[in-house]
């Protein structure tokens, strides 16, 4: 009975621990992510990557990335990196911001080579990393034909 209770508790506790863990949503051993973070942990949260859940084609998809930050001289966002899981060029863009930006929000239009997971990693002035990952379904990929 004791063993059975122990197994029950383990099953209940382990998934909760995984959810609250840093790095659980992003691969920090990915060479591209590692080049940005130099092995530091990437925390989930603070970053909001806004993309439609579905795009008819991947030629031009509206994208907005926001970071919760007071954008003061002491606490601001230094850079936002946009990483694609499936594009031939995975490092899509890097936006460099500072205290003078006033608001950590950047918008653009991106190309997507098919249904994939998009990741935005923000680098803060205190050296910490935060990120958000979003799944986007793309019906017709860019890159494959036409351009």
């Amino acid at each position: 009975m004791k063993r059975r209770r122990f197994v029950g508790w383990s099953l209940a506790v382990i998934p909760l621990k995984v959810l609250g863990q840093a790095n659980a949503h992003i691969s920090t051993t990915d060479p591209l992510v590692f080049a940005i973070t130099k092995g530091k942990p990437v925390n989930p949260g603070r970053v909001k990557l806004e993309l439609p859940s579905l795009a008819e084609n991947g030629h031009s998809v509206a994208m907005t990335v926001k970071v919760e930050s007071p954008m003061s001289a002491a606490d601001h966002v230094r850079a936002i990196h946009l990483i694609s899981a499936k594009n031939p060029v995975r490092e899509m863009a890097t936006f460099y911001l500072g205290a003078h930006s006033g608001r950590a929000e950047v918008g653009s239009r991106i190309r997507l080579n098919g249904t994939q997971r998009m990741v935005a990693v923000a680098e803060l002035s205190d050296g910490s990393f935060w990120s958000d990952a979003v799944m986007i379904e793309v019906r017709e990929a860019a890159c494959t034909d036409g351009g």
Partner: protein, 105 residues
């Protein structure tokens, strides 16, 4: 090449956030496209910067992952009236520039 459409408010109050929108006319060739069997070489804007009265307010490194006729929207806090200077560089080493005036009341 140097065609860009910029949207900034004409006037703003001191210390207020200014939204800057810019669309640059550029094909952002991926290098994967074929035109009549010939491969079109890659040519994309890879560097973009915006200065306000000489001080950098925004910088970006772009790639072919940005759609043709790249659009960028960002914010900055304006303290004095002045000129926004946009600059970009593509894979053909061609530079582009654009300017916009902003009056701070």
């Amino acid at each position: 090449m140097a065609l860009a459409r910029i949207q900034v408010p004409r006037e703003t109050k001191r210390g207020e956030l200014v939204e800057v929108r810019i669309v640059i006319q550029h094909p952002m060739e991926t290098g994967y496209r074929r035109d009549a069997g010939e491969r079109v070489p890659r040519n994309a804007i890879h560097s973009f910067a915006c200065r306000y009265n000489g001080a950098e307010v925004f910088r970006a490194t772009l790639s072919t992952g940005i759609a043709a006729n790249p659009f960028l929207r960002f914010y900055f806090r304006a303290v004095d009236s002045g000129e926004l200077d946009f600059w970009w560089l593509d894979d053909d080493e061609k530079e582009g520039t654009a300017k916009a005036r902003l009056v701070v009341l």
